[in-house]
Each structure stands twice: as structure tokens, then as C-alpha cells.
Amino acid sequence: MKEIIENLKNGIIKSNPVLILLLGLCPTLAVSTSIDNAFGMTAAVLFVLISSNIIVSLIRKYTPKRVRIPVFIVIIATLVTIVDLTMQAFLPSLSESLGIFIPLIVVNCIILGRAEAFASKNKVPNAIMDAVGMGIGFGIAITTISLFREILGTGNLEVFGIELFKIPGLSENPMPIFILPMGAFLVISILLATLRYTGVIKSG
């Protein structure tokens, strides 16, 4: 039991995929333009990560070593295509704003990395907890970044079409640089530097 909780905490804090391992930066930087996108992306990644970890863990004893990477990729690609089609069918607007980054989850190193490094060597319950922890860790990182980018870049915060608050002055003259790609780099670098400086994450 203790081990399972440890697996969960590992992904959220100790080896957070984005903030510590610096994996999956491409979707983190590209899709964090609004909080809705961040939630959508987290849900997609979480689903693919949990399912792929379960399947990889289930077949770990039968998978020949030599073809394990192609096998993992086929499994992940299938799951991603299922997510992509389902999103297109039932959440067309979200699918439009996430665009190419849903199919690109196939090459997201968090998912292949966890399949190879963890799920292929551990029992199913541990693999599930690892996936949940990593998924939440990814979610925390991308949501934090998108929070800064949306507030600074548009001056207000909207979650699923409901306006939460508006910063007077900033909403009339927002800083669109934070919505642009370079804003993503600025936010993530300041975030990482602050976390290291304050000792929340330990370097090296």
C-alpha cells in the first residue's frame, strides 16, 4: 500500500514529468494558451497514459524484448487515435483548438517513457498509480503555465465559457506576447527558476 502511494507521489512531486524530468515540453508549451486547452490536453494525456500503462503492464511477461518499443508505439498510437476520433465526434470545438497536438500525443515522451521505464517492469496496480501520478503532474504543470498565460495575455480568466474574473486595465490592454509562443518559454523558464530558487524542486 505504501509503495502504491509512493508511486502516485513520485509523478506529482519527486519526478514531475514536466517540471523535473522536462519531458513532454512540446504539448506543454504549445497548448497552454488557455485553461480550457490545458484541461482538455490533461484529460487526453491522462486517458492515454493510464490505458497504455495498464496494457503494457498486462502484456509485460509475453512481450519479446526485441520488439517491445514497436509494440508500445502501436498500443499508444491506437489509444491516441481512439481519443482523437472520440473528441472529434463529441467535443468538436476542443478538438479544433487542440488540433495537431492530440495526434502528437503518440510521440509524447512522457507516455512512451513511462511504458518503457515503469509499466513494462511493474505490476498493474503500481502501473496505474504511476500513470495517474504522472498525468496529474503533467496537468499541474500545464495548468499553471496556462493560468499565467491566459491571465497576462488576455486580462481575464474564462473556464469552459464562464468568466471567472477580469483584471481592470489589463483586459483592455492585454499583453498578447504571453499568448504567443515566446510567452510560453518566458513563463516556463520563470516558473522553473522560481521553483529551483525557492527549493521546491531540488536541482541536480
Partner: protein, 195 residues
């Protein structure tokens, strides 16, 4: 010797083939469930775009070969619509262009309205092409007046986004005449057949 080979060479291949077959089955199942929903959402998107321009319409037809929509009200043609592509600052801009139905030659084509389908212009600057303050300028004007004000036309460009503005104007200017000719020829052809 042969036994080792069998295990090392054949089993991985069979295993991978098995996984791929399973994946195909799952994808086929997902596709057959979602296919109709995806088609419906796409149709709904087209319909709502047409409704936006022609609020009174009750039916439409699409010519797949010539790529234009004919908008109908009580079986009368009230307008035409098509998708034009402009070369914007950040990539292609897809425009949905609606035309009034009664045009005889190039000089009396009246634009019913436009809306931006998709774009990748700079947020805060070129992005303003989607705003009504820009796109409404096209509503009800003659195609001959489609030009930026500095070139003697009727369209005010967006400050800070001249490339985006003129991309839309250029695409409109060229595509509207071309499409109008295509539509006119098609109508002539149809009426000849009838008579």
C-alpha cells in the same frame, strides 16, 4: 540450433502482428461508432455558418465538383456561398464568402457577407480579422469596392495588421469574380438544358 532461431526470430514477429491486428479491430470499432457523429458535427458547422449569413434560409445544396453552396428559400435561390483561401501573415486564412444571387456580369456582384472559418494570425493584431468591425465592412458592397481605403476601396485595414487585412481583401477580390463566373456558367448550362 533451429529451435533457438524459431524462438528468437519468429515469436517477436508474430507477437507484433498480433498486437497490430488487435489495434486494427479496436480502431475499426471506434471508427464505426464515431463516424456518423463526426459527419453530423461537420454538417452542423456548415449549416450554422450558412445560417449566420442567410438567417432566412430553409435549405441548401452543395455542388461538389464546382465547390459552392446554393442557398434556397421556398425553392428560390437567394444566394451563393463558397470557401476562399487567403495567404495570411501566419498561414492560410479560410474565408466563408456569401454572395447575393442576382448578378449578371462582373460589375454587379454584391457581397452578402463574409466570415472567417480558420486562421493562424497573430493574437491581438491580425486576429482582429474575425471581429465584426472588420468583416462587416464587406457586407452589401460591390466587388469593385473591395480594396483597402488607401487604394481607393471601401475596406479600412486593421492598424498593425496590414498584411492580414490585405490578404483577405486580395483573396476576396480574386476569388469572388472567379467563383461568380463559375456559378454563372453553371446556371447558363442548366437553363440551356431545360429549354
Amino acid at each position: 540450433m533451429t529451435k533457438i532461431n524459431l524462438k528468437q526470430e519468429i515469436v517477436p514477429v508474430l507477437f507484433l502482428t498480433f498486437i497490430v491486428c488487435l489495434s486494427v479491430i479496436f480502431l475499426y470499432a471506434t471508427n464505426s461508432v464515431t463516424e456518423e457523429y463526426i459527419k453530423n458535427t461537420k454538417n452542423d458547422a456548415v449549416k450554422s455558418m450558412l445560417k449566420e449569413q442567410f438567417s432566412e434560409m430553409d435549405d441548401y445544396s452543395y455542388d461538389e465538383k464546382l465547390e459552392y453552396y446554393t442557398i434556397l428559400l421556398n425553392d428560390e435561390i437567394v444566394g451563393y456561398a463558397f470557401v476562399a483561401v487567403a495567404n495570411g501573415y501566419g498561414g492560410p486564412i479560410e474565408l466563408f464568402v456569401a454572395l447575393e444571387s442576382n448578378f449578371l456580369d462582373d460589375d454587379d456582384i454584391i457581397i452578402h457577407g463574409i466570415s472567417v472559418v480558420s486562421h493562424s494570425e497573430t493574437p491581438g493584431l491580425g486576429e482582429k480579422i474575425v471581429e465584426a468591425s472588420f468583416s462587416d465592412q464587406f457586407t452589401g458592397i460591390n466587388v469593385n469596392d473591395v480594396a483597402l481605403t488607401e487604394d481607393g476601396g471601401k475596406i479600412d485595414s486593421i492598424s498593425g495588421a496590414t498584411i492580414s487585412s490585405s490578404a483577405v481583401v486580395d483573396a476576396m477580390f480574386n476569388s469572388v469574380r472567379q467563383k461568380a463566373e463559375v456559378i454563372r456558367n453553371n446556371i447558363d448550362l442548366n437553363s440551356e438544358e431545360e429549354s
